[in-house]
């Protein structure tokens, strides 16, 4: 049976810097290797439609005739399935979580 | 890792006796699973002893007589039985605690009871339809 078992830990942390960050004033540093926002490179895309077919949530739309590519940010689950299947490496997941999607429409590129 | 276990196909009458024998031999109830087949619901009772699985398989025909509850033997079976009753609409008689369909609060009554549209079931499924004692690896 012990008493005041947390005292040592509490004193140690009372004297050291907090592990939390003051978030809105101090932006969160993205962890390298994290699966964040999906980035699209228009220059290398050949509009093959593979990413749209592979997407498990159906977040991607490819218009081959109009050479347009679109994503519904609220549907995307950042799984990286499209990144793996893209033959031209036009897609990538950035470590940053990006801006918050607030509308339900598609973002066209 | 995998030991081959044969699914033992039994009828509803001898279910409780068989389960009682298993309990006396020290088996633990792992789960009761239901699968919707075109004309019946297939129930799989899995038991475990020393990390080996034994399975009993039972067919509950649609509109047929109810299945006897094994919650008199394994009290914890009432969870699985109420679940199967609520999701598949299988009538189970004599459950230790009968929630009368209120175990799951679902918008649709018996959501898993509908049969898949025939288009989704390819001819390969015909093999699965007559439920023969299929070997189940575990």
């Amino acid at each position: 049976m012990g008493y005041f078992t947390l005292t040592r830990l509490a004193l140690k942390w009372a004297l050291s810097k907090p592990v939390t960050t003051r978030y809105p004033f101090e932006p969160r540093q993205p962890v390298p290797g994290s699966r964040g926002e999906l980035a699209f490179t228009k220059e290398s895309c050949v509009y093959c439609n593979i990413c749209a077919k592979k997407c498990p949530t159906g977040a991607l739309v490819v218009n081959r005739a109009g050479k347009r590519w679109a994503i519904d940010r609220l549907l995307c689950i950042q799984c990286g399935c499209c990144v793996e299947s893209c033959p031209k490496k036009s897609l990538s997941l950035t470590p940053s979580h990006g801006t918050i999607a607030i509308t339900k429409d598609r973002e066209w590129f | 890792m995998s030991t081959e276990v044969v699914c033992e196909l039994i009828s509803a009458d001898c279910l409780v006796d068989r389960v009682r024998a298993l309990k006396q031999a020290g088996w633990r109830l792992v789960q009761i699973s239901a699968t919707r087949l075109p004309e019946a619901v297939e129930l799989t009772y899995s038991f475990d002893r020393d990390r080996r699985l034994a399975n009993l398989r039972l067919l509950a025909l649609s509109g047929g007589p109810g299945i006897p509850s094994i919650s008199g033997v394994y009290w914890c079976a009432l969870m699985y039985e109420n679940e199967i009753h609520d999701l598949f609409g299988v009538v189970i008689e004599g459950m230790a605690v009968d929630f009368k369909g209120n175990f799951y609060k679902t918008a649709i009554k018996h959501p898993f009871a509908s049969v898949k549209p025939p288009a989704a079931v390819k001819p390969a499924a015909a093999k699965a339809a007559p439920p023969s004692p299929v070997p189940v690896t575990a």
């Binding site: 049976m1 994290s34 | 890792m1 792992v30 239901a34 990390r51 914890c76 009432l78 299929v134 575990a138």
Partner: protein
């Protein structure tokens, strides 16, 4: 004595998830507890008819936000067994490593919640501070904090390089010493022991008969851990299930504390023996057959019953989650307990309602 029914949940401060218990009380003693679940039943088992078997890995992983990786792993193992896929050994080891990291973060989360339920707020914060260190490793290696997304049918998606492995092992030493400081408080402190010792005793026979799994069963003295089945890389690693014999809340807490260090040890062993080679095999065709896969999650044994008929959609996908198996035991221990002990007892089985309501 007049009986009163006190509702516990669906929204209760001690649990972030909705489970409802009707507590029949006499004075301050609980006579009976009647559960009702299904507030957030999602019908994920039915969704298997819409998504193909490879896409379904994502859904299997999203059954639960805490034991997500092992759900995906179990699903993949079941499909791989049905399809008879030769999964590379490196993939097995990586799955083992991530699975143990997921156990670490889940148990640390539970310890924090437990401290919170006891009213020990600073201990709760310290538990989650350590958990954050584990989550950082997970995010850096898999890309997700709780949804790892690295398991796929036929192997894994990401590899851990040698430099990253060295960094992880170094960080793991720090995490281990942090965990020692915290678990010492849980196991030794008077205020924690007063709330947990002798509360909600499950005997060995009761626990076995009620079909308990995981730490709840092991705290009652049954040495059963599904990792002993030797799935993934566990057949090549040495470990003994952590057991206690008292069967009370304190024993369940002690089992989880012991499993933290067991996981650290398993991760070290797995890194030491990590073989080279591919991390995935190519998957072609559709599964045809039936398999029951069992693995050990942080909360206990999970059972996946998969039935495939040669189409790209499975015929039946059934999950028996550990919490579902532990609920009958919870109802038994609640009978005759003090009303004030209910939150602690509900927490000691580590309920994961989103698992239960798949």
């Amino acid at each position: 004595m007049a009986r009163t029914i006190i509702p516990f949940g669906p929204q209760h401060p001690v649990l972030p998830e909705p489970v409802h218990l009707d507590l029949v009380v006499e004075d301050e003693k609980v006579v009976e507890a009647r559960p009702s679940i299904g507030f957030i039943h999602r019908g994920l088992e039915k969704l298997v008819e819409k998504k193909d078997y490879q896409e379904f890995t994502y859904i299997a992983e999203r059954i639960c936000g805490i034991c997500s990786f092992i759900h995906g792993q179990t699903y993949c193992q079941a499909v791989e067994t049905i399809m008879n896929l030769p999964v590379p050994p490196r993939a097995h080891y990586l799955r083992t490593i991530w699975g143990e990291f997921s156990r670490l973060h889940s148990h640390l989360l539970w310890l924090g919640l437990m401290a919170d339920a006891l009213g020990f707020e600073s201990l709760f914060m310290h538990s989650w501070r350590v958990r954050e260190r584990v989550l950082k490793i997970i995010e850096a290696t898999t890309g997700g904090r709780v949804i790892f997304g690295t398991c796929k049918v036929g192997g894994v998606r990401r590899d851990i390089g040698p430099e990253a492995a060295a960094d992880i092992l170094k960080e793991l030493d720090g995490i281990e010493s942090d965990m020692r400081e915290i678990t010492r408080v849980f196991l030794k402190d008077r205020s924690v022991k007063d709330r947990m010792c002798g509360v909600g005793v499950l005997t060995k026979e009761e626990a076995y008969e009620l079909g308990c799994v995981g730490p709840t069963l092991r705290a009652s003295g049954v040495s059963q851990d599904m990792r002993q089945l030797g799935y993934a890389a566990f057949h090549e690693l040495r470990f003994e299930p952590v057991t206690r014999t008292d069967g009370d809340s304190y024993a369940r807490c002690a089992v989880r504390c012991g499993e933290l260090f067991q996981s650290v040890d398993l991760i070290r062993q797995a890194f030491a023996r990590l073989p080279g080679g591919d991390i995935a095999v190519k998957v072609t065709g559709n599964p045809n057959g039936e398999h029951i896969a069992r693995t050990e999650q942080p909360r206990g044994e999970v059972v996946y019953h998969l039935k495939a008929n040669g189409t790209k959609n499975l015929q039946r996908f059934r999950v028996r989650t550990p919490t579902f198996a532990n609920l009958p035991a919870l109802l038994k221990v609640l009978q005759g307990c003090e009303l004030a002990d209910v939150p602690v007892l509900v927490l000691t089985i580590d309920p994961c309602i989103s698992c239960t309501e798949r």
